[in-house]
Symmetry: C2
Subunit: 204 residues, 2 copies
Amino acid sequence: MKTAKTKKSEESAEQKIIEAARKLFTEKSFDAVKTRDIANEAGINLALLNYYFRSKEKLFEIVMQENMQKFFQSIVGIINDEETTIREKVELLVNRYIDMLLNSPELPIFVMSNIKSSTRTQFQGRFRDSFLMKQVQKAIKKGKMPDMNPVNFMLNVVSLTIFPFIGKPMIKNSHNMDDKQFLELIEERRTLVPKWIDAMMKVK
Amino acid sequence: MKTAKTKKSEESAEQKIIEAARKLFTEKSFDAVKTRDIANEAGINLALLNYYFRSKEKLFEIVMQENMQKFFQSIVGIINDEETTIREKVELLVNRYIDMLLNSPELPIFVMSNIKSSTRTQFQGRFRDSFLMKQVQKAIKKGKMPDMNPVNFMLNVVSLTIFPFIGKPMIKNSHNMDDKQFLELIEERRTLVPKWIDAMMKVK
DNA sequence: TTCTGATTTAAACAAATGATTAAAACAGAA
DNA sequence: TTCTGTTTTAATCATTTGTTTAAATCAGAA
């Protein structure tokens, strides 16, 4: 029996392959990553890739699945909490996303490049049917928020939080910034994005 | 002499190759696009690609250059106009970008995926040194805008305008939307983004 | 220890891929 | 027309790439 090893140095080959694949597929495109790159990164024999995962495509699908999970999962809990206000949810969302993206800055580009309209995810309609959407609709109906497509509210939160990570190289380039300055920018957003969203909700 | 053909049906092979390359490289990654794909799309013999452009890399660089140009060029004029107010510039930027992105929705992902921190573009520091940045700094100093990193102001405009196109498949998927609904969403943003930015400028 | 099935390895394969070649077709000048 | 340089073509090449094979190694059971 070889399953369920705990020590990192004695990880199963299967695990090592998945980790290498995740790293490489997340930072480069499917075609840019070669099976030999994955084998090298994992420190295993090339043939093991097909032995355990049948094909590069199958392996990619697993990474895809994991990354989608990571990207959406964290927020599902927040947007469906029936105890918190819209304002509180926004604050939680912004902080949760910024924390996650500081650790995995390449995740958004991966997700955005690889979701095709055709892709069927487990997150179909998860936003539309969320409690947050209902709260926003109610707020609009009550006149506590300007009349707008509620999707645009959600889209604003997501845009203001995620885009800076997608645009990082562009921002650093066009503003001649270093990594430290970029981080300061993001930390300022952690505080300000919720306030900005708040202000937007008062537009008439 | 064969240069400078005008009729579209009688385009030079060189032009046909560039157009095919632009189309394919803009919608798929460098490695996903094969030289034979480009040749087929252009309807020319494979060897002409190397005859005119030396290599796939050189051809890609040309497309890269063109796309960067297209993406940044349109706004340079707007942000350096000394006659318009901040508010007017925001409105112009949002409209200009939405118009462009409705025609070339894949452009943002191309740009974001291919600018590396190392990439040297002709747009180095173009934002930082723009007249708009000076206006924003002055407005902050005068207390007409809340104290913040002026880059974050620019970043908000860009995030709210561009992200929806980057996230289009995700949005359509997670909200079960069709193309028509997505377009309506965007058209609403054309009007609302400037107002939202306006409201954000009043946060204290 | 021997046996058995799972794991790992080096080598090989076939297809795909970027690039080159040499000959053919073409267009305009003389 | 003939000549000259340019453009286009089909064929070919050398590598790269995803995958397979068959043998070797290993781990645990009997």
